[in-house]
């Protein structure tokens, strides 16, 4: 809400000693938060001048400039020389003025905020231009660029007069952020009332208007839907002179409040809306046919609103109609065909009170917000309509020469707001401010125009008609606290009962985070949005589950219409960005949720709020939500260990990608089985699936060459992703008990020749289980070549044998070794 400060000062009777900053600070403390103080930056000398002569001088560039002599008053004039009279020489490019006109001149040293710099004397077009003749736009006045040079009415001022004061050019405007519960503050009346309360001044209500000539019909009205339109008032004004201009002060206030000055009748309507907060409408009486009907729209009805948009109406839309059809979308915007124009002399003034939700829904439906809709949505004073119509009518009489027609139509009435009853000590208890006693509360509430009665230990508070925010006891507490001051709230640290610390899952998630960092991965965060293009780049088949996204109604971009199903979409994009920025070796990780549609999930119900939903109802809510597991993903490109003086370094391989998963599993003490699979976006022969009790919980491996190409990543890049919820869910409460023996170890190296198809991991696992003395088995060499037959390979293992309770004998070692060889023979392995 933009509030012109002089207007507010006048309304409140604020002493001059109160600065604009003080005013803003007090309003902010009263829940009308200052966003910005605008204006007040202009500084002179900006003076009235009389054009003495203007000589057109055509220029080589095709323009014609005026070389002017301007009388800017004895204080600022250069003395007369020869036949050149006292004044200043000024070059001006505009032509809508001439000798004898009164203009506004910014002399050197003037700062105009619209230009952003200080005017100085400068040489141009062969003259020294000693100032500037100002346009309306340069002065920030209504009219904008079309206005050209501002020519003042003759006799308004004398050359040399200060134009800043004359035109109110330095008026300040408060831009206040009005919270949605304080609809009343969308008016000077509402802001003024709070300002008066904040400064302890008696408030004179500008809506205190005597309504005259009430006998008879103003303009006939039928309200078919009194729920949606509880009050509708009409009154007529005739004989308006359509050529009368809007008074300059009114136009200025409108512009300062962020509106445009359009025509006298429209400006008065808007001015009264700003002043009293009640949107109102003036119809051209000549264009209305028959009585006004307020009704819901009919299917297929259409309406062209004032913004020249033809709208298809919804049966829930509330309309203002005449015999011909709709003339306005109630509370939002009038129709183009009954608009005031420059021949309008007779008008029908409408001032109504519409149901807040009806207006809000229609405005949302038509994506049409207006100054009127904004106010109706937040609630206008339902006791104000007749007085607003009167105010508009009187201004039309005063400034437009019109005549108020006898008769006033008032349909409907809204009763007083219901009283709120609360314990007298509730404000003190909830605000936590010890000084708030019953007297403080009562005074604060009466200051807010509430009627207050103390009945025993209860306060009975009846809010004024315009306070839609006062419904519950706690609402009343806020009003008391607002007056007492939020700065009065003391600081008391509550003592929570002992908590249980982080949950196991929360702890383990942190552990995973540190394990990923410990694996040399740099964590990134990406937006979880994706689309077909991303899945194509990953090479996902058409029927891949991961293409089934949770879609959004209003995605930011059509390329990313929904939520991602894999962290790799964001991670590989980030990897591409790094490579593009010249990083050769990149190792990234992300932890985050992905989203997967659940088949046949119901829509989420909307329950009432007057009670807790039952457990069954809550279960239905949860069943509607998509799966959203927490995942961890990683990618490694380029070198895993850096080349340098110590050696050639080592490239990241599929093995590194798998190792990250096993490292996470170890960190969580879970056993992950590894299986070879072919799955996008991985190289079909270099991808591992991770299984937890037979369930696949992730994949890792080398990325498919085409995927690497699609993302602009270097060859042999690798990646992986696991479901952390699954891993963490499987983590035992306690890790394994450490078991080890202090007796000597016996180390045996065993090399086997096996078929190429034998999987080393399987053989290693089998060897590890080949006898009770086997402490560990580790593959240390794989060989295929001349030394072994074609189709075969050699696998060499380092086997460590140890007993828990004695030193091994040679016989035991021989036996254990034989058992290992025997076990290996089941894989067709022969000792090499």
């Amino acid at each position: 809400m933009k509030v012109p400060v002089p207007w507010l000062r006048e309304l409140v009777g604020l002493p001059d000693s109160v600065t604009t900053e003080e005013l803003a600070a007090r309003l902010t403390a009263f829940d009308l938060k200052l966003e910005e103080i605008a204006g007040g930056q202009l500084s002179g000398p900006l003076v009235v001048g009389r054009v003495l002569s203007a000589v057109p001088e055509p220029q080589k560039n095709g323009k014609t400039i005026n070389w002017c002599r301007v009388d800017v008053g004895p204080e600022h004039n250069d003395p007369a020389t020869g036949d050149v009279p006292a004044g200043r020489g000024i070059v001006c490019g505009a032509h809508n003025f001439g000798p004898g006109d009164l203009v506004v001149v910014s002399l050197p040293g003037t700062f105009l905020p619209s230009l952003g710099f200080e005017i100085s004397a400068r040489k141009t077009y062969g003259h020294v231009s000693d100032g500037m003749i100002c346009s309306t736009a340069e002065l920030g006045l209504p009219g904008g660029d079309q206005g050209g040079i501002l020519v003042l009415e003759p006799g308004l001022a004398e050359p040399g007069d200060d134009a800043i004061a004359l035109l109110g050019l330095n008026d300040e405007t408060l831009d206040l952020e009005v919270n949605p519960d304080r609809g009343y503050a969308w008016s000077l009346r509402g802001v003024g009332r709070d300002a008066a309360l904040a400064f302890g001044l008696a408030f004179r209500d500008p809506a205190d208007i005597a309504v005259t000539d009430v006998e008879g019909e103003g303009y006939p009205v039928v309200v078919e839907d009194p729920q949606a339109c509880p009050v509708f008032v009409t009154r007529r004004v005739t004989g308006i002179d359509p050529t009368r201009p809007t008074p300059e002060w009114m136009a200025r206030r409108l512009v300062q409040a962020g509106m445009r000055s359009i025509s006298l009748t429209v400006d008065i309507s808007n001015y009264v809306m700003l002043e009293l907060g009640q949107p109102n409408h003036a119809y051209d009486a000549a264009k209305l046919s028959g009585p006004i009907t307020v009704r819901r729209a009919r299917a297929g009805e259409r309406l062209t609103t004032l913004d020249d948009v033809e709208r298809e109406l919804d049966p829930a839309d509330l309309l203002i109609c005449d015999d011909e059809g709709p003339v306005g979308l109630a509370g939002i915007m009038g129709a183009a065909h009954v608009e005031i124009d420059d021949t309008t002399t007779d008008v029908v003034i409408e001032a109504a009170y519409f149901d807040r939700s009806t207006v809000a829904r229609a405005a949302r439906r038509h994506k049409l917000s207006s100054e009127a809709a904004r106010r109706f949505e937040r609630g206008v004073d339902p006791a104000l309509q007749a007085r607003v119509a009167q105010r508009v009518a009187e201004l039309l009489v005063e400034h437009g020469g019109g005549r108020i027609e006898p008769g006033l139509t008032v349909v409907g009435e809204v009763g007083a707001r219901p009283a709120v009853t609360l314990p007298v000590d509730l404000p003190r208890r909830i605000a936590g401010v010890p000084s708030i006693d019953v007297d403080v509360s009562v005074a604060a509430l009466r200051g807010n125009d509430c009627e207050v009665q103390v009945q025993g230990d209860q306060l009975v508070v009846t809010p004024p008609s315009w306070r839609f925010d006062l419904n519950d006891p706690y609402d009343v507490v806020e009003e008391v606290l607002r007056v007492v001051g939020y700065d009065q709230v003391p600081s008391v640290l509550p003592q929570a009962p002992g908590g249980r610390g982080l949950t196991r899952a929360q702890e383990l998630r942190r552990r995973v985070g540190y394990a990923l960092a410990g694996a040399g991965l740099v964590e990134v965060k990406t937006f979880p949005f994706a689309g077909e293009e991303d899945f194509d780049k990953l090479g996902l088949p058409a029927d891949d589950e991961r293409r089934r996204q949770v879609l959004l109604e209003n995605p930011l971009s059509a390329q990313e219409p929904g939520l991602t199903t894999t962290l790799l979409t964001g991670l590989l994009r980030a990897a591409g960005l790094n490579v593009g920025r010249g990083h050769d070796d990149v190792a990234l990780t992300e932890m985050g949720r992905v989203f997967r549609i659940r088949d046949d999930s119901p829509h989420a119900p909307i329950y009432g709020v007057d009670r807790r939903p039952t457990d069954d109802e809550l279960a239905v809510l949860d069943a509607a939500l998509p799966d959203q597991p927490l995942m961890a993903a990683w990618t490694m490109l380029g070198q895993r260990e850096k080349r340098g003086w110590a050696g050639p370094g080592r490239d990241a391989t599929w093995a590194d990608a798998i190792a990250v998963a096993t490292r996470l599993a170890e960190a969580l003490h879970v056993d992950l089985a590894v299986e070879a699979v072919a799955l996008a976006p991985f190289h079909p022969g270099r991808c591992a699936a991770f299984l937890l009790d037979g369930e696949v919980v992730g994949h890792a491996g080398e990325l498919h060459p085409k995927v690497l190409e699609a993302y602009g990543l270097p060859a042999r890049g690798v990646a992986g992703e696991v479901n952390l919820d699954a891993l963490i869910g499987a983590a035992p409460d306690l890790g394994p008990r450490p078991v080890f023996s202090a007796y000597p170890v016996a180390k045996e190296d065993l090399a086997f020749v096996v078929d190429q198809s034998v999987r080393a991991g399987d053989l290693q696992d089998a060897l590890a289980g080949s006898g009770p003395l086997v402490e560990s088995v580790r593959l240390f060499d794989i060989y295929a070549g001349d030394q072994v037959p074609t189709g075969k390979k050699s696998l060499a293992f380092n086997v460590r044998l140890r007993a828990a309770d004695h030193t091994l004998t040679d016989a035991e070692i021989t036996e254990a070794r034989a058992a290992a060889v025997e076990t290996a023979s089941r894989f067709g392995a022969t000792l090499r």
């Binding site: 937040r378 936590g432 507490v477 929570a496 937006f527 909307i606 709020v609 850096k642 370094g649």
Partner: protein
């Protein structure tokens, strides 16, 4: 070897003469002193201590002496051999130590060469700050609660007193899940976690909910469609705005250091009543009159906006099954992304989301 000396004339046995033993000893000692390597000492040992050395040979002659002469000769040769052995041991230790030192000196390296061959990981500051804030709450005896990011409309709005026509709803810039009838949203705040906690737990409740939230803001230098919040909720008997202030003051101090106080400004949120915005004493200039005017962080205000808060609206308590006659509570929420950008002077919010490793790396594994 000579034949037994039956005449008893020790002087007859030349190698056992005192002057001869002395000469052999001195020769050995001189050779030991002259040896300057382990190699040379090996030879010296052979020459002067070994089986064929003069002193060893002389020692054998002792047996040839008459018994009454053996003692003196034995003592003489023994002392000489002892002196030689001792000198040899000392010299050996000396030479070995010198050689060891020399070898170590030769093994010296240039320790200034780059040593970062192993990859070094780092955690994103938004992760770390969420952990840090969680720890502050846990230390106060609070617990950390969580909930889904795709959330039911009822929990994100209705249960929080944001009815379908509430003007504040449209101010939330909500991502809606398709189709709209599904009545699901990307949560616009972590408040549904508060509602879920109240729906499933009995008071007293003291919880904080850090997490990722969503608004339909096009990404630019100061906006992102995804950001992080931490919200807190306390429900207990007798809680007031004063307890809210105490909690926020404590949190401010824990995050921004001693002396960081807060102030309330009235505001409006449907889920709290009374509601306030909370400002933080500027952690850069501390509202110091000498500095505040030029402070880039608070732009001369002395205070920086921190978050929203208030006393939980009893309507929310009712929808979530908490008895408003018995319990009251407070709630608050603040953005964490801005905590990072403002404290580290990060001008462009997109840096947090682009994934450039140079953004995360400097944070290491902790702030």
């Amino acid at each position: 070897m000579s034949a037994p000396n039956s005449d008893y004339d020790p002087v007859e046995v030349t190698p056992l003469r005192a002057d001869e033993v002395e000469r052999m000893r001195d020769a050995a000692l001189a050779a030991i002193a002259a040896a300057d390597s382990v190699e040379a000492l090996k030879q010296v040992k052979i020459d002067h201590v070994g089986d064929r050395s003069p002193l060893a040979l002389a020692n054998r002659e002792i047996g040839a002496l008459p018994p009454q002469a053996r003692k003196e000769a034995g003592q003489r040769v023994g002392q000489a051999r002892g002196a030689v052995n001792k000198a040899l041991a000392e010299r050996t230790a000396q030479v070995e130590a010198a050689e060891f030192d020399r070898r170590l000196a030769e093994e010296a390296v240039d320790v200034t060469v780059p040593v970062d061959m192993e990859p070094v990981g780092a955690r994103h500051p938004l992760t770390t700050i969420q952990d840090h804030v969680a720890d502050i709450f846990v230390a106060m005896g609070w617990e950390i609660a969580e909930g889904p990011e795709v959330e039911a409309e009822w929990l994100n709005f209705d249960a929080l007193n944001l009815g379908p026509d509430h003007p504040a709803r449209t101010m939330m810039d909500t991502f809606w899940v398709a189709p709209a009838e599904a009545a699901m949203v990307l949560r616009t705040h972590t408040s549904p976690v508060q509602a879920r906690t109240m729906l499933t737990r009995k008071p007293p409740i003291y919880i904080a909910c850090p997490g990722r939230v969503f608004r339909t803001d096009e990404p630019d230098a100061t906006h992102a469609p995804v950001f992080h919040q931490v919200e807190g909720l306390a429900i207990d008997e007798g809680l007031s705005m004063a307890h809210l202030k105490g909690t926020l003051d404590h949190l401010a101090t824990a995050i921004y250091g001693e002396g960081t106080t807060t102030r309330f400004r009235p505001s409006y949120f449907p889920f709290t009543e009374p509601s306030a915005e909370v400002d933080l004493l500027c952690y850069v200039c501390r509202n110091d009159p000498a500095q505040v005017a030029d402070c880039p962080t608070c732009r001369g205000e002395g205070w920086v906006e921190w978050g929203g808060c208030g006393v939980v609206n009893p309507r929310v308590l009712i929808a979530c099954g908490v008895d408003p006659e018995r319990y009251s509570g407070f709630a608050f929420g603040m953005g964490l992304d801005r905590t990072i950008t403002s404290r580290y002077d990060i001008a462009d919010l997109r840096d947090l989301w682009d994934g450039d490793i140079r953004f995360t790396e400097p944070f290491g594994i902790g702030l």
